[in-house]
């Protein structure tokens, strides 16, 4: 709206006979070509009338008009992120029983046969250890949302070949890691409806950032 008003002011000013031939600047800071046609008076008045009705539209319009609209399919393909409420989880399902073999083949080398860690981060164990001098942060002991587990395995695992697991394999592995942590039974079916409902032991363990908590900040 401000841009439209400013444009009108510029054009009204250009109708006057004594305007110097200098460039004008809109309220958006864009340098604009001055209108110097012999018929500028008439054109200016004409534009003013139309700008009055176009003002509301202009306020809603992009200023630079760069880029293109994505298709719904493009957005769907690019957006694989999963939220705690389950938004983003695909169709499909899995169980720990079905995930045991895939885990042994694709995960155990780094995370250990029982999720104990080995060369990479541990996945199971450590529940109750967070207040001890040797806290063990695992999916079971630390992660607040089960949905994060599906999301991360789906986007980033296995480490050396992300993107090679099928959706059902990701559900199976999610179920298997939750099973290793003692959070779900071996035959529980994990899908887009059941996964957001899984209660993680440390769900209430996170607090917002209270800093500055040191440093003698002066009020």
């Amino acid at each position: 709206m401000a841009m439209a008003v400013s444009l009108m002011r510029s054009l009204l000013a250009s109708i006057g006979e004594k305007q110097p031939l200098t460039h004008v600047r809109g309220s958006d800071g864009l340098a604009q070509q001055p209108n110097r046609s012999p018929e500028r008076k008439r054109v200016g008045l004409f534009l003013c009338l139309h700008l009055l009705t176009a003002a509301a539209l202009l306020a809603q319009s992009p200023k630079y008009g760069v880029g293109r609209a994505p298709t719904a399919e493009e957005i769907r393909q690019w957006s694989i992120s999963v939220r705690p409420d389950g938004k983003g989880l695909p169709a499909g399902s899995g169980t720990a029983a079905a995930g045991k073999e895939t885990y042994a083949n694709r995960c155990a080398r780094c995370h250990g046969a029982h999720g104990e860690g080995r060369d990479s981060v541990p996945l199971a164990g450590g529940v109750g250890s967070l207040t001890t001098p040797t806290p063990l942060k695992t999916v079971a002991s630390y992660w607040p949302y089960a949905t994060t587990l599906f999301d991360y395995v789906n986007r980033a695992m296995p480490f050396d070949k992300p993107g090679t697991l099928t959706t059902n394999q990701v559900y199976d592995l999610t179920a298997y890691v939750l099973f290793l942590g003692g959070i779900i039974p071996e035959n529980a079916v994990i899908d887009k409806d059941s996964l957001p409902k899984v209660q993680m032991p440390n769900r209430a363990g996170f607090v917002s950032d209270p800093r500055p908590d040191t440093g003698g900040k002066k009020k």
Partner: protein, 402 residues
């Protein structure tokens, strides 16, 4: 003392220069001192490289997984406020992807009126801006929480660097697309193999966050996110998403792996602080520091200070274990959320000394001691250690971690 020292030094140098000129005039030596002549130097070349006598490198600790690892900036040899792109610290989660900028796209969608896909060429058509700011991994200095301290400034604190970044304000992009009512957060996602993603409060995105393609006068280095990354001034390194390919405006955080299982700070009571994004004020003496050996006599103490909350307003230095403090000179320009170089002239008398710096930022926050941090947070929080760093000078001039 410092003023006297400087004046005296200048006077002596003036005398020495005059003496040298007089001696040279008396001698009848040929204009060149080398009878065999001099070889031509190297010809012009299309892309520069440093002198073969300069050997500083990023430090990389041993690991079996170098694709999800870090390299550290040699702060102990740094000069000025900028880090060369080639020495800027790295932290990757699935290696450095090779991305053709002609094929790269940024998708911005979610709670916006006009979801848009940008090519690199289209992004560069938008009004751009440049800004110098530091970048620091929140896991920097984490060895200071434990009882196995590192040896050098690089090993301990080298996950911090400072560059000039060039790109488009994210606020401009979001305003262009029209942010919808109820939007509170956004998700930023990279094009690296693990599709690293972090949630960022919309207020910060609209404040001073940049979508950048330039670093220190040229394109981003691949390890810094080529061709496109997020720069979130003053916030922990991990949210400055590299190889940026997607931004989704949302009403809440996605609770990604890197904002739940990692980059959360475990407290002694078992709770963990989440979205600890701000980098608190920190300073560090870079010379002399761990691994250096100094000689008796004049020694300029210098270092770096920075804060995610704005400008550094004061740096004090102590050489006697914290009994007395002197104000260090701050090198102009002192920029918001950028490295600030500080200096203090000193004369080492050959005795044992303990050197440390303490900075204050424009909010009045004073860099705490490590003991003060531990008293509040215990020793298991891993991230955000900005405690005062003490270097010990031995009688032989060797400098070590105190």
């Amino acid at each position: 003392m410092s003023q006297d020292l400087r004046t005296g030094r200048r006077q002596w140098m003036g005398v020495a220069a005059a003496l040298g000129a007089a001696l040279a005039a008396c001698r009848k030596a040929p204009p060149t001192g080398d009878a065999s002549g001099r070889l031509l130097g190297a010809p012009v070349r299309d892309y520069g490289a440093r002198s073969p006598f300069e050997t500083d490198t990023r430090a990389i600790a041993d690991t079996r997984f170098p694709e999800t690892w870090s390299s550290r900036t040699p702060l102990q040899d740094s000069v000025g406020m900028l880090t060369p792109s080639s020495l800027h610290f790295e932290r990757h989660h699935a290696g450095v992807p090779t991305i053709d900028p002609a094929q790269h796209r940024l998708l911005v969608h979610g709670m916006v009126d006009r979801p848009t896909i940008f090519t690199m060429e289209e992004l560069k058509r938008l009004p751009s801006t440049s800004r110098i700011c530091f970048l620091e991994c929140s896991g920097n200095s984490s060895s200071e929480w434990g009882n196995k301290p590192g040896r050098t400034a690089q090993q301990i604190h080298g996950l911090a660097s400072c560059s000039e970044w060039t790109g488009v304000p994210l606020s401009l992009v979001l305003n262009e697309l029209g942010v919808q009512q109820g939007a509170q957060w956004l998700l930023a996602e990279g094009a690296d193999p693990c599709r690293m993603q972090r949630s960022l409060p919309l207020a910060k995105a609209l404040d001073d966050t940049l979508v950048v393609w330039g670093q220190n006068g040229e394109a981003l280095r691949p390890e810094q996110g080529y061709p496109l990354r997020l720069i979130v001034p003053g916030f922990e390194g991990n949210v400055n998403v590299k190889w940026l390919r997607r931004i989704e405006v949302t009403d809440g955080p996605y609770m990604t792996r890197d904002e739940t299982s990692h980059y959360t700070d475990l407290m002694p009571d078992g709770t963990a602080r989440q979205f600890t994004l701000m980098m608190d004020a920190k300073s560090l003496i870079t010379y002399p520091s761990g691994g250096h050996r100094i000689k008796p006599g004049f020694c300029e103490i210098t270092g770096l200070a920075w804060t995610g909350r704005g400008r550094i307003t004061r740096v004090e230095v102590s050489v006697d274990g914290g009994a007395r403090w002197s104000d260090a000179a701050l090198q102009a320009p002192v920029l918001s959320k950028a490295f600030t170089r500080f200096r203090l002239p000193w004369r080492w008398d050959g005795g044992e000394a303990e050197l440390q710096s303490r900075c204050t930022d424009e909010t009045g926050y004073v860099q705490p001691t490590k003991e003060a941090l531990v008293a509040v947070r215990g020793v298991q929080s891993n991230y955000h250690n900005n405690g005062i760093m003490v270097w010990k000078v031995d009688g032989d001039g060797g400098v070590t971690h105190a």
